[in-house]
Symmetry: C2
Subunit: 290 residues, 2 copies
């Protein structure tokens, strides 16, 4: 497996693969791999001839008070894990390679998808994501790119951008991978103390509670959110950031769950801000029985 | 020559050209061709195997009070002129093809290049330009793209964007083409009455005045601007929009012309807002003798 540090070399690597007619897959990551990342890579290896994983903690998508400096990094460990699942190259550029002196261009997706959930709580975050993903797509030129559904809003933003800017890449969303107790895999789980780790299971439990309610026919979005908040607030170590329900995939405000809806939560445990979500599905034309 | 109206067909056209190893050139335009456009196409025909000219009056780069609706359009005439100089295809999409329902993504170049000259006078203009050019590059995938230096600031913005977003396209700037009396060719010259047309020569004359002053060793930027403004204001039909001098190509504020500088002017004649510019070049280390 190759470890590529600069843009020029990365472009040449893909150009050679494309010349021989190979399907190129990209798994964009910030590294510090867990099973969630590996699921993306495994899917890419199944579907593509050549798989590149980018490992880049993108400063542009972190706010000034966020965890850019402390975000966990371990390229050697990542490289061993990626090689194990059959990745062909890791692209791990330095900041000066991605954002040289004078860099001054951004790609933004509008407010209908970004002024809610993590976009509202992390201003500039999705512009940072859209900009770095545009760069990665232009550098690697993948036929397919793989994104985890834990960042459900990110997947929708990237899909919107790809469609709007006529980019030739197929976006493949991959389901959330969870620990055995249901906690969604995240590089930020490493921040959790063992007490916080146990408490963090409340995220998944609250999502399952909502899912059960919808299955029973309760479709009042405000009431579901209230119950999810109550469940999370009952956990003393949890500090609620947001619990929100929107239609899916267009993220419109809804007061009733009809068809598909995204229930997304963000909760802080100490210095770890964790997110999780679930797609709720209610039959249309069912009246609210709460 | 092909006239292509939709994105899918345009992508297929380029894909076929690229498969056979051809160099693809793109000349992005808003149509209503004049000799300036033809100079871009001729250059492209010289340097490329396949040349595509896009003809698209991009609503995103016009302000609400600008001339989007009245901007001159004549695809049949444009097609004949393009064919004459050897263009292989015109890409002329409808607005619904470029900006379908739900479109919500923009590409922006930051203020160091855009909060001055036309960027200051036309807020959102360069975001509209960067966004449509990104789309055109992704649709047509040119190896080289040709832009006229009459829009000098636009060329700098596009070059910045291409470098920042790692786009694989070479930007080729082409010199301004002028009428015999010096007026820069522009599709908007069609708005001029015959009186205004005669008066409009003052733009070029004012630029040449500045050039002569610099050649004589006068390098005080404020004084040069003052003389250019005076010259333009002496023309009763001219309504001055801006006269500015910046270092070139980085568009920094300067008070002395040392090395290369961009002198750019925008002047209204009735409903026509015309722009023009010149690159001034002064030797460094020459003291101001004004």
């Amino acid at each position: 497996m190759r470890i590529i540090k600069n843009v020029k070399e990365m472009k040449e690597f893909t150009a050679r693969a494309k010349e021989s007619g190979k399907i190129v897959g990209l798994v964009p990551t910030m590294g510090y791999f867990h099973q969630g990342h590996l699921a993306l890579m495994e899917k890419a290896v199944q579907q593509c001839d050549v798989v590149i994983t980018s490992v880049y903690v993108n400063p542009l998508q972190f706010g000034p008070k966020e965890d850019f400096a402390s975000y966990p990094r371990d390229l050697q460990r990542d490289a061993a894990m990626a090689e194990e699942v059959g990745v062909d190259a890791i692209f791990s550029p330095a900041d000066g390679e991605m954002y040289p002196e004078g860099f001054d261009t951004t790609v933004s997706v509008g407010e209908s998808l970004t002024n809610k959930l993590c976009g509202l709580k992390r201003p500039g975050h999705f512009t940072g994501v859209a900009t770095v993903v545009t760069k990665l797509f232009n550098i690697v030129k993948p036929d397919k790119a793989y994104f985890g559904l834990k960042d459900a809003q990110q997947v929708l933003v990237i899909k919107r951008m790809v469609e709007d800017l006529n980019m030739d890449v197929e976006i493949i969303p991959v389901p959330i991978v969870r620990e055995s107790d249901g906690l969604a895999m995240s590089s930020r789980n490493v921040y959790l103390t063992s007490e916080q780790r146990k408490a963090a299971v409340v995220l998944y439990q609250s999502l399952k509670l909502a899912e059960q309610q919808v299955k029973k026919g309760h479709i009042d979005a405000v009431e579901i959110c209230r119950q999810v908040k109550e469940k999370i607030n009952n956990e003393p170590l949890a500090e609620l950031d947001y619990v929100e329900i929107y239609s899916y995939p267009d993220l419109k405000f809804i007061d009733k769950i009809e068809g598909r809806a995204l229930l997304a939560v963000a909760v802080k445990f100490g210095r770890a801000r964790l997110i999780d979500n679930i797609i709720l599905e209610a039959q249309k034309d069912v009246s609210d029985s709460i």
